[in-house]
Symmetry: D2
Subunit: 366 residues, 4 copies
């Protein structure tokens, strides 16, 4: 079974390579009657686009989305929504000299072990351009969820070892796009920027942590055993390239806590059941509790660095060295923010429909 | 879509509640021709059984597995393997007084929000007895993988804030069952035991970290986009009750590393491609690299504690307090070791078949 | 991917062999709050049980179902419902002499080609006992659908070349259990019975046609492209052993009709849209029209006959002859009636939930 | 769960409406290393294109396929293959006057009952243009299967009540494209043509039967219970618009046969196990027997006819009449031939991979 499909009731399939003709996604399961236009999707794609600041690769990608199906008179019809973004005619000649070298930290060798062939131009299928499809599908999920009062947002909370102070949800929403590192603690953001510039100067890269929040998710979605809401979120987030760890609520800190600290006491708030703290991160027993869902992703430093590295020639099986040319993102978390939001939005849209909280066929009254 | 099924080519469905008649699992997709008997499964169930030491609940559960289908003359036939374990006639009267109270840290309230009804006796479907099916299915996955030279084992590396020193794979295998905390650093194990006893004395509980290793997995299994091997492992491990975080290889530490540190250099070892370090944890770009797969799970402290806690009555919506009676596991990681091994084994068996490394239908030559 | 699972939102997995310890099914996706007891299931199993008349095998099978999970205080809880029926200790010695012979019309040889091994006792997994799981799951689907005003019933309309006259839905319901051939045209039923007795006397068997009707299905369920309601029903019915053809509405007769005859005119009836005829069989464009769903299955004659037949020894690859001992059902359609009803009920329950016409999680108001 | 995806190991998702911007398909699961170019796909699309003769609609559709991903240096890479065909700028104004009328025999009303909205221009998603995606994906399946010595072909065996005489496989392959009705019995083809012309003259349409043959399928593919090879083929074929019945081998005729007639005797032929006749149609117990697979589909007459018909206005709920303008295919079976081949090829490719007869990842030796 191939693995390019994600979700069950809200289902996406992505396709495309960085130097192929286009990249795209088809979204199946969007209920009929949702107001949707290309601009709804474009604004999210604009957030993931590179070349926006000194902290990301200066490649310019226009990345205009085209919606090819599933809309009629400005509304979704319940049929699949196909979207694509054309690739620019890129110079792929620069990859010829490294086509047999396994770039450290990249999937080149595992791909060859699996398929015996790979499109080595710019990473091929494993390129970050693959996330265009995720972000486009996530834009639809977000819009659908907004009808149910759910909003999803992410921010960088750690970069190159610099940790941000906690800020309120409102401050995250207000500040996150004010700085190219997408850290809502603006003081920390300054230091992160400096760290990036230092790493760039040394031809190196740095990692960080992204936090994703889903607010307004009603209690009772998710499934109790394997398709736990946190399990599905973990898969979704871990499936983003460069993510090496995922945690929910107190996460790894819970390993050091006592039960009496960790357990969130139940309370009555505004007449409904809530919890006094949120160590659970909004999910207990795999099912949403009605509290905000909190997820964090550990992101490794960009594997493409300009320092010389030790590696092998996959064809001759000789040991050798590699220098990766071109300028790459010195750090991934700021650009991952919209991708992580998209993946969490897709999971929650999927479970909202699975739990009949959003009608599978139609938002319209008939 | 309900969520009690896991896996695609090696697929399991579990069922049962703690105070129902039985718990069980059906495994579909085991190739024909595997030598298998109840003892293969029983020995893993014996490892997960409670009541084995002072660090776990003293409830005695015999937990004898019965294999009801899929075997003929000592071999699997390619048809589904149904297994069950009968529940003892348990006294469920003791749960009546808390049936409307939402136990902090437990899924009681989310279940009610989802289903409007729940079997409140002993946790019902969310009881740890649900893991019997996982462990039984995992025993088959492990045996199947052993034919391909793959073995999977886990150990406790942190408990109540005490961290074990790193030990070799051989020492893990030799030491892990020597101590009830299943920590292969036997000095640390002593301290962990003391910590457990202190927590018990205070009516409290502690958390920890379990590490799972899969050795011998060939390069080239996994899928490049959504069904990445690490994404599927994350889902599998996060779906175990009480897990709040998952990481692969360097995990959250990678957020603080430079690219030049994190990237594992490729080398030639014994004539094949390998890496000089293993920060990737055996998976790059979602596909196995041939190096050992390393995964860690953060486990929260047991939510059932005997200290008085604040909560609500779900029926009357009043705030109140709860005291949970009976003696519960003071900590979960030691007992989670076989469960975590099972889940990782199931994921790897699934991907070995998905990648045609193990024949989907039969191990026999015909 | 193995193939013992059916359905998406209402999902079943069956297991078991005729001479194994038991046969069973697990049903996942039954909404919480459905009143259910073993008797609801048993009454359907009693309808499929052999040994009830002169037209079926005289083997006596008590076939008492046990529900092992998913119920609490007489209601479903939303968790999986596991059910099993123990097999009687059967004498399997009688199969030893034919274990290497491929019985004509049976799957013996394809099984060996696929798995290299098979449980040859009584047909193993391909035995008609496998349908116990289908009927048990179907009983739950039927009960669930009855809450939505949907009922599903089947009858024999052709047997051994004798065709029944059309009768009203009420006459089907009244007459079908009055005769062991389950043909609601009681005159035709008499002739069918005679035909069976003649075939039996010659050591031969006969085929027939079963018609299944689903009444009360609302307009608008099903999916427009691959998971058309008629496509899913076709798969469900064709997956029953011995079925060689499936048709919907006018079926094969439509091949000989003009468009002006075949098209059902739309009308207004009792204030809602209906059709004046029902050549479509209640499904247009893959989606229910609100008219009764009509499906017919062509059933081949029982392959196990006592006449001598030509075959091969699969082990030695010699041609030889085979005589199948024991008394088998001389015809399958009468016993298939409850199985066919079950499969159609499962498809419709699945699509009712998929289309949010029945809530996926709960029937209870909360 | 939406329903635009088909297959498991060889998986397709189609999208697009007749008057949207394009129609397309993404194919996931094609092993790496298959030689493939647009011409391989185009030649099948050319066979399904309308406007090729007097027996089909004179609309001219160029229907040039573009492959957007999954190929590198002329070979598949194991990643998804996205394909699209642009729609011509069509005049959709002509549909405005019937947008609220439910065309008899069409899914207009069920779509509205399901979604509350529909793209009424030219049938929207239910247009025959949806089959472009099926045929394009089927072209890849056919090419993949040809590497395993499997070929798949279809022909019209009945049209407007005129039945063709049986012809050999070679004659089918030689003759089928010699006549616009795609009937290999050329005498019958003449009469069918006359029948079409008569129906056209009366503003009416006729139905027929298409037979599909898969030759070279090895014994042992398919699954024994729900995903029987014949069950999956039935679903695949029944999911094609206008199909109202499916049969395998002797099909509905088997209902009238004795067991001693129906059972195919096993024999040894060229050293391997075969059967002397093929009433089973190449599938026994849901698994291939090694004999040719034979399937027939009953196709209803085209629902779009120019005769006046009785219907309702879905908006006002008034009864009224409708005249469908434009020239439509007077009969569907000739144009369905490549579509039916495609769907059967997809099912067989899927099961070949599921059974590890074709490697899931790669055709290359590494």
């Amino acid at each position: 079974m191939p693995g390019n499909t994600f979700g069950h009731s809200f289902k996406i399939i992505t396709w495309g390579e960085s130097h192929g003709r286009a990249v795209g996604v088809t979204v199946d399961g969007v209920p009929a009657g949702l107001l949707l236009c290309e601009e709804d999707v474009q604004k999210e794609l604009d957030r993931r686009r590179p070349g926006q600041s000194e902290v990301s690769t200066p490649r310019k990608e226009a990345d205009r989305v085209e919606i090819l199906s599933g809309l009629f008179e400005g509304k979704t019809t319940g049929t699949p929504i196909a979207m694509l973004v054309w690739n620019k005619d890129a110079d792929s000649g620069s990859y010829d000299n490294i086509k047999d070298l396994a770039r450290p930290g990249h999937g080149d060798y595992p791909y060859i072990a699996k398929y015996g062939i790979r499109d080595y131009r710019g990473g091929g299928r494993s390129s970050a351009r693959e996330t265009i499809g995720r972000v486009a599908a996530g834009a639809i999920a977000k819009k659908l969820l907004s009808y149910s009062g759910i909003d999803i947002f992410a921010h960088v909370i750690e970069l190159g070892g610099i940790c941000a102070d906690p800020v309120s949800f409102d401050d995250i929403l207000n500040n996150v796009e004010k700085t190219p590192v997408r850290c809502a603690d603006l003081d920390a953001a300054e230091k992160m920027l400096e760290k990036i510039i230092l790493a760039l100067a040394e031809g190196d890269s740095i990692g960080g942590v992204v936090e994703i929040i889903a607010r307004g998710v009603p209690a009772g979605i998710g499934e109790p055993v394997f398709d736990k809401l946190d399990a599905d979120i973990s898969k979704a987030v871990m499936s983003i390239g460069a993510v090496k760890g995922v945690e929910i609520g107190a996460g790894f800190k819970s390993a050091k806590m006592y039960g009496s600290e960790m357990n969130d006491p139940f309370i009555i708030k505004d007449g409904v059941i809530a919890t006094g703290s949120n160590n659970a991160g909004g999910i207990i027993g795999g099912i949403s509790s009605g509290m905000p869902i909190i997820c964090r992703a550990a992101v490794k430093p960009t594997p493409s660095i300009s320092k010389m590295q030790h590696t092998v020639n996959m064809s001759t099986l000789d040991e050798t060295t590699i220098i990766i040319e071109g300028r790459h993102d010195p750090t991934i978390p700021p650009r991952m923010v919209p991708v992580a939001e998209a993946m969490v939005a897709i999971v929650i849209a999927d479970h909202m429909i699975r739990s009949s909280r959003i009608g599978a066929n139609s938002l319209l009254n008939i």
